[in-house]
Amino acid sequence: MRVFATFRIALRALRRNKLRTLLTMLGIIIGVTAVIAAISIGNGAKVQVEAQVASLGQNVLTVFPGSFSTGGARGGWGSRSTLTAEDAQAIMREVDNVVAVSCEIRDRNQVLANGRNWNTSMMGESPDYLSIRAWGLTSGAMFTESDVRSAAKVCIIGKTVADELFNGQDPIGQTLRIRDIPFKILGVLQSKGVNFFGQDQDDTVVIPYTSAMRRVSGRDFLSAILIQADKAEHMERIQTEAAAVLQQRRGGREPDFTVRSQLELAEMATATAKTMTLLVGGVAAISLVVGGIGIMNIMLVSVTERTREIGIRMAIGARGRDILLQFLIEAVTLSIIGGVLGICGGILVSKIISAKADWPTVTSNTSIVVAFLFSAGVGIFFGFYPARKASKLDPIDALRYE
């Protein structure tokens, strides 16, 4: 039987009861809208988190010192003063597939320049720091290994610091005072924005870690060691091996450090978004099933109402299969139109959420295709029983039906 002609018959039948058709489709429309919107919001969150994780650098592992505990009082993570530059060198030397290591010292300090002052985060780092964090300079250059050896009084500054202290002037070559020690500004970092802990990453001054230890903070232990792996698949092994190297250097003592992988951080951050997507997606799926049941219900009513029409069609030569196809196509048309309207609605809702709630949404083509196929599937699944019922009618009984 000609599918196109059947499609025309289905459309005409649906046009006849416009309100009923719309109400029947509503379940599918709402379901698909919810699915598309949920996936868009989830994807948006994922993309945002991925961008933030990527801003930490590519394939980065971080060694934190363990918690300090004495006489029953316990410090928090990183309070121990046991991590040294030698530990970092040992990791670089002994663990394979490590491409860069940076010793990190974190401190907050008041800085002065150009007659202004500003409280900012001071980072003592190795020259590899920028490549590890995939961070570029807008102008100037990074300090070098020889600056580290000589604990040179040089620094590079973040965009926020540059703006606050120099207010549009070129800071390169100018002097910045940290605890009254003059540091020469070698470069300005590109803007990285806020990280997912809410910190402004551009509010920073980076100096050689040796300078931070000897000249500013006066301490000989590190806040952290950053390790960069050449490939993501080596990160797990490097995590274990770095821990083994550090443990070996500590002999039989209890481990006083933790090695964290960027992957763990990313997983933690995306877990919430995933849960939300699953939850809304689940509710939406239920709504689709309810919509499908609505279609089945209306199709059953329609078959009963049109029993006489079915009888006429059978009398003039329609096979059971022709009748089945007619009602199945009607159900599928119903659900597909609902699906398409739902997809439009979902995109619209995503756009509104993006605009009003300042939440990034990403509508993927996959989710649109899946939603479309799913709604067609709902039509076939829930339309089949009523259509089969229609096709099994006895022509004589159907013709006599009042």
Partner: protein, 255 residues
């Protein structure tokens, strides 16, 4: 002569099972209807004429006996094959017209062509449907919907629909049951005209005067044929219409 038979029934029986009771609706009917005949089957309700009609129309299968329609042994066919036979060899006209509502006359007439196994091109569908409507005198109303047509006109659309696939047999079940006298005679006029053009017609009716427009009358009682004879004083629709108008006229004059 057998080659010429459109319908050949051999000892047809039909038994219905209603609950515990067996109802013998048709008890051994044998019948030959030749090409070009115009047969009226009569009988009171319960005589088995409707059951026989459903069997002839391939809507139902007999419990026993053989049925050949246009040379095809119908008794052995399955549901789908019966549907194909109904589509290609039989045109139905019902008492209640059975047109699809909110569908134009033309589309109603096109309907049987939708179910033809080898599909009919769209332009040919329109052409054939228009021709069939012209044949029954509705050429000017092809876009009208059933609710815009009178009973007689609706029945004409149904006749056009029955003819559109050029069937071997036109089967009418109480075609004038819902119509007034004048329209009934007009519809009989259409039947007589079609019969003159060579179309075989089998009609079920319980009205004797309607049966008199046919060439052959078969009377059924209790599931059996009790009378089968040629109509002697056959009525002609044109004459009957004139007579009816004169009668109306005289009623008006005397009033």
């Amino acid at each position: 002569m057998h080659n010429n038979a459109v319908i050949k029934l051999e000892n047809i029986r039909k038994v219905y099972q209603t609950g515990e009771v067996e109802v013998h609706a048709v008890r051994g009917v044998s019948l030959d209807i030749a090409r070009g005949e115009f047969v009226a089957i009569m009988g009171s309700s319960g005589s088995g004429k409707s059951t026989l009609m459903n069997t002839i129309g391939c809507l139902d299968r007999a419990t026993a006996g053989e049925y050949y329609l246009d040379g095809v042994a119908v008794s052995a066919l399955n549901r789908d094959e019966l549907a194909d036979i109904r589509n290609s060899k039989i045109g139905f006209v019902f008492q209640g017209f059975n047109l699809l509502s909110r569908t134009s006359a033309l589309e109603n007439v096109e309907l049987p062509m939708l179910y033809v196994r080898h599909s009919v091109p769209r332009h040919e569908q329109i052409e054939r449907a228009t021709k069939a409507l012209e044949l029954v005198g509705l050429g000017g109303r092809i876009d009208h919907h059933p609710n815009q047509l009178s009973g007689g006109q609706q029945q004409r659309v149904a006749i056009a629909r029955a003819l559109v696939n050029q069937p071997a047999l036109l089967l009418a079940d109480e075609p004038t049951g819902n119509l007034d006298t004048q329209t009934s005679i007009e519809i009989m006029g259409v039947f007589q005209k079609l019969n003159e053009q060579g179309i075989t017609i089998v009609m079920v009716t319980h009205e004797l005067d309607i049966a008199s427009f046919a060439k052959r009358n078969i009377i059924m009682r209790d599931g059996q044929v009790v009378s089968d004879k040629v109509v002697e004083n056959r009525l002609d629709s044109a004459t009957q219409l004139t007579r009816l108008r004169e009668a109306h006229q005289s009623v008006k004059l005397s009033a």
